[in-house]
Subunit: 473 residues, 2 copies
């Protein structure tokens, strides 16, 4: 651990310090009070007030503001800001809203804003547009940008090629630190605004090294780039899926990585800030899918949301009907012992919940590649045992409750045995289903819970009612 | 969008290019085949083979390897590597395993490894240790590190103070680019290895500017730091919760941010790579809690896992028993129309699933602050309408099925009405519960689903059986 290295701050500085200490509370996102104030100013048509309110906002907060406003308010606001809107706002908008905002702005202003974005932001914005505005905007930007955008669209969706920034600062390994600094000073207009690593390429443009800027700054002018550069970098194929890209960044704590084409030539660079977005997105997808929502519908309207959720509920209806068919097998038994109808949801519900616990751990482990090499078999065995132990514990608890409630010791025995069976089955299938789906190339977060509840419902009802039929009648 | 700026690679380079193009397949994490090979070599006592296998691994992969091995294999491997183990391996280990590995290594080697870590990694490793090894290791490190560690432990858990790196490179604003470069060249030993931003402080050590290294490199030597620095940075209080820190990084696409004490003095810096870990952790917690698992138990043993999951299942048992009590109210009704017992789980299950969809979107929106200023009321209204529309759709579907199945049109009507009621209730409570819990200071991801299922079960059974009692008897 190095000592904190700091330059001495030699006496009081000559100039009055220009401080950036905003009170902390203000920095945490967009203030709801501001949203209300903007709304009020919009309603009262106070154009200058609105301009004064929006102007100091970070683009991310302006995007949040646009999301918070109603449709007409948003249109009015965009008409007021016009081309004075910061281009970055577009990249912070939810995809659903981007198209609406582009429609409000019109293709001319949208194209002007697009031109100001860096290549990765421009592509991210562009790829989510609908067909029509896309064509209209494309015809209004310079040819170089057209080429980058259309080329970007040829890479597979959610691939490294879609994430990468095309502006990479590259130096040949034969240069010295002095030559590099001089070149940067004379070419500063062409160099992307802020960056953190230089890449070193061979004559065929293959990356052969990575050079954090701090090493350049620390070294004397005659030092050769080849001596400073690190060969420890991870070239990403342009077609690599973003999930794999995120895994590599996370696994190896990368801040940036070069992207190469099929021939191994450097075509771009991905930085960690692009990846945070991917990580959020992947986590969000897992959470939502496990909850039975295909994608975030926070910003969708009622009808669209209804339609999207309908299909998942339809699948669940089939599961529920399957469970009902099992119950129907035992109608005669239930007719004789109505207590069974009262108790039967308990066994099914406990199985469903225990199985979901296992399933959640498994789905997360698959997403994070946490079981790499650990042996899935070991995980399944463990979950089976956990199911057995909790099954035994709840068998005792519920057995006693049922016995006392209906004053029938045998009924207690039946629910106890059914509980053990269903919790063991829940552990087994909760662990097995996600890995099977993953092996089959399906997304474990999506289908797992339907399959699981079907199993725990069917087994729960069958075990409890079947045993009851054998023992009680 | 700037043109890609690249230096010309002037003719073939003098030296043979040293290429870093590992085949991509190999770079994606630890190969299962390697785990097997290490295991085999360990079993056969081939010390040199093991050394040769482990040596080239990235610390993250070595950590994965340790996690994949059994206890005895792990001990053997650690005895072979000894102090040759790369210190960073410790930071990549799951907290549960860190203590085990430290016990295997002993306090002497552990302390030696700790000394090699940067301050944030050292603290992250140290804070998760058990009491005993912590004291033993602390007494074996130099006083400066002791001080940093004990001071670090005084910051609240999961706060900015625990995440920050103490090694910040700081310059006064009156310096020039030339002076900065010269100072870095002469002090390179004391400066933390790789970094990306310089911080500018006033004489009282308050941060007044942030300076990406690329700007230093691009500017002529006489340029004043004060002219180059950006005042657009976000100082974080040392006590700020890591969730808020992550939110700020995400919202404003930050790569680093200064951490200040109560007096506003610069005490450290947080970089985006520290935040990726926090983002993963927060997402993981949400996923697991929604699934009824308090924290990841992937690496816990069977008994510990059983115990942890028991409490959640016990809560669910109470929910299930509550539902049974509702059913018991209608025992007489069920005795006369057994079809009710067959169909009743369907209404409850559909309500639970529809409510979970809403709940998931709400929990995620709260975690991501996506509804900031959007009006919770608007969200709840929308979800209520979605519940109503899907309720009507499934009322028709299930009404017809029940009618045909039991040849009783009235039974179809009863289940149809119950379905609408329960799906509206599910939408309402699925949207309401998370926000109420959040308002009350509780974690919406934990309690929401229990409350929700209790509501949808009780309402589902009550509406269906109650209506049936009125209409059918």
């Amino acid at each position: 651990m190095a000592d904190p290295a700091t330059a001495p701050s030699e006496g009081p500085s000559a100039e009055e310090p220009r401080r950036s200490d905003r009170p902390e509370e203000e920095t945490v996102g967009l203030a709801p009070a501001l949203v209300d104030a903007v709304r009020k100013a919009l309603a009262e048509g106070q154009v200058e007030t609105v301009e004064r309110q929006v102007e100091p906002l970070h683009p991310a907060d302006t995007a949040d503001l646009l999301e918070a406003l109603g449709r007409d308010e948003r249109k009015l606001l965009l008409r007021i800001t016009g081309e004075a809107l910061e281009a970055e706002v577009l990249t912070y908008l939810e995809p659903e809203l981007r198209n609406a905002v582009v429609a409000d702005l019109g293709p001319k202003i949208s194209a002007q804003l697009l031109k100001q974005l860096e290549s990765d932001d421009a592509l991210e914005f562009f790829e989510d547009l609908d067909e029509d505005p896309r064509t209209q905007i494309l015809s209004r930007v310079p040819r170089t940008i057209q080429r980058l955008l259309t080329e970007g669209m040829t890479f597979p969706e959610d691939s490294a090629g879609r994430l990468m920034q095309r502006e990479v600062v590259v130096v040949p390994s034969i240069w010295t630190v002095g030559e590099t600094i001089d070149w940067m000073r004379t070419h500063k207009k062409q160099i992307v605004s802020d960056f953190y690593d230089l890449y070193v390429v061979d004559p065929r443009y293959k990356p052969i090294g990575k050079l954090p800027l701090s090493r350049v700054l620390r070294s004397k002018r005659p030092t050769k780039i080849a001596e400073l550069m690190s060969e420890d970098f991870y070239p990403l194929k342009v077609t690599l899926d973003q999930e794999e890209v995120a895994y590599l960044f996370r696994q190896y704590s990368l801040l940036s990585a070069p992207v190469v084409d099929d021939a191994g030539r450097l075509v771009g660079v991905i930085t960690l800030d692009d990846i945070v977005h991917v990580i959020d997105q992947e986590a969000e997808e897992d959470i939502l899918k496990l909850g039975g929502v295909s994608e975030s519908d926070l910003y969708s309207d009622v009808l669209r949301t209804t339609r999207r959720r309908f299909s998942w509920l339809a699948v669940n209806l089939m599961t529920a009907i399957t469970a009902s068919l099992v119950i129907a097998l035992f109608e005669a038994t239930i007719e004789q012992v109505v207590a069974l109808a009262v108790l039967m949801p308990i066994v099914a519900s406990m199985g469903g919940n225990a199985g979901t616990q296992t399933l959640t751990v498994a789905v997360r482990a698959i997403a994070m590649k946490d079981l790499a090499g650990r042996g899935v078999a070991r995980f399944i065995t463990k979950e089976l045992l956990v199911g057995l132990f909790n099954g035994l514990l709840f068998a005792v608890v519920m057995g006693v409750i049922a016995w006392l409630w209906f004053d029938q010791p045998l009924l207690g025995a039946v629910i106890a045995i059914a509980m053990v069976i269903n919790l063991v089955v829940a552990g087994l299938f909760g662990a097995l289903i996600p890995f099977l789906l993953d092996k089959l190339g399906a997304d474990p977060a999506i289908g797992s819970s339907v399959f699981l509840t079907t199993v725990t419902d069917v087994v729960g009802f069958f075990a409890f009612l079947g045993l009851a039929g054998l023992v009680l009648l």
